[in-house]
Symmetry: C2
Subunit: 193 residues, 2 copies
Amino acid sequence: MNSTRQALIDSMKELLWLRGYDATSPNQVLDHCGAGKGSFYHHFKGKKALAIEAMNERVDEMIDECDAIFTADIPWLKKFETFLLQPRAGIKGCPVGRLAFDPSMADRDLREPITRYFSHLQYRITNELMEAQQDNMIDSFFMAEELAAMIISSIQGGYVQSRALNDAQQIEHSCRGAFALLYVHTTALNESF
Amino acid sequence: MNSTRQALIDSMKELLWLRGYDATSPNQVLDHCGAGKGSFYHHFKGKKALAIEAMNERVDEMIDECDAIFTADIPWLKKFETFLLQPRAGIKGCPVGRLAFDPSMADRDLREPITRYFSHLQYRITNELMEAQQDNMIDSFFMAEELAAMIISSIQGGYVQSRALNDAQQIEHSCRGAFALLYVHTTALNESF
DNA sequence: GTCTATACACCGATAGAC
DNA sequence: GTCTATCGGTGTATAGAC
């Protein structure tokens, strides 16, 4: 059966979110899912191999959620409202972004899923902004890539502040600030027509 | 002499920046500054005590840099331009913010300097934005705290993206995006008068 | 496929000579 | 104030029985 194998992946996913890669030991994974050491090294070559599989599953899920919003048939500003103002676990942090400063990022293989996630986010958001610019909904003065980076930062930086201040609401403030700026700029542009 | 003691603090400051708290061992600090184990535990109670002292020094420096900008006698928008567009080591990350997801943040004493830094940043920036609002330079529609959180996020989230994509320029994009939004909104407001 | 026992390196910290 | 030797604990991984 694959159930033990999947249980190991699921436990690793959760512990990577809670504690990162470096601070998560095989023993912790085993305690979390109730498996034994033998199972671990039977199903996976080692900690690194399991973590890569776990991270790729996580990233696939996160990318699906992102795409569900940005490929929906709703107005562009509503997409950003949905994306930015969705509820988030400020203290836990982003399952992907929280690994950015984990010592494991020195390893190319372990960094790859994280790179894949942020590349995709930037691609989706930049595209959406460029379309809005073509429709004259956003001033062409802006570099779409820069706005996209700022929007992603309002989430990732929000998590950092939530953590640093031990206050789950910080990320909400950050995202509302980003959306407000986008919103006001857009309505101002529309009024001038 | 205090030179060994200060060398230990300086090495810990550098290693906290490069590798964080959890992944930095006393042995690494010793190798970095050439001291021996005896010196370490003579001058400090342990790893935690040294790290707290090192972090407080770092935070004091960072706060001084921040205050130098926001208490300068220059127009408010220029302050944000200076603050946001200053050169940054994207790959290394923020010496303070990079610790947000370090396992050590579970410890109140170790988190305290980090909390102090972000509290101060928010205080300074929120104040500056509120003054700009009183002078009708920024629309009162905005919540100053939310804009402040977003501005800090454009830096911290920019670091996260630089790390994740292994591209030092990402943080620059993010900060330019944030400043552009602030800049355009302000000039738009001025033109309407 | 899963278990227990074991190996070896490194962790944070201490002891005691100099 | 600084050194080396050493401690108990934990990390990742392997061996070999079942």
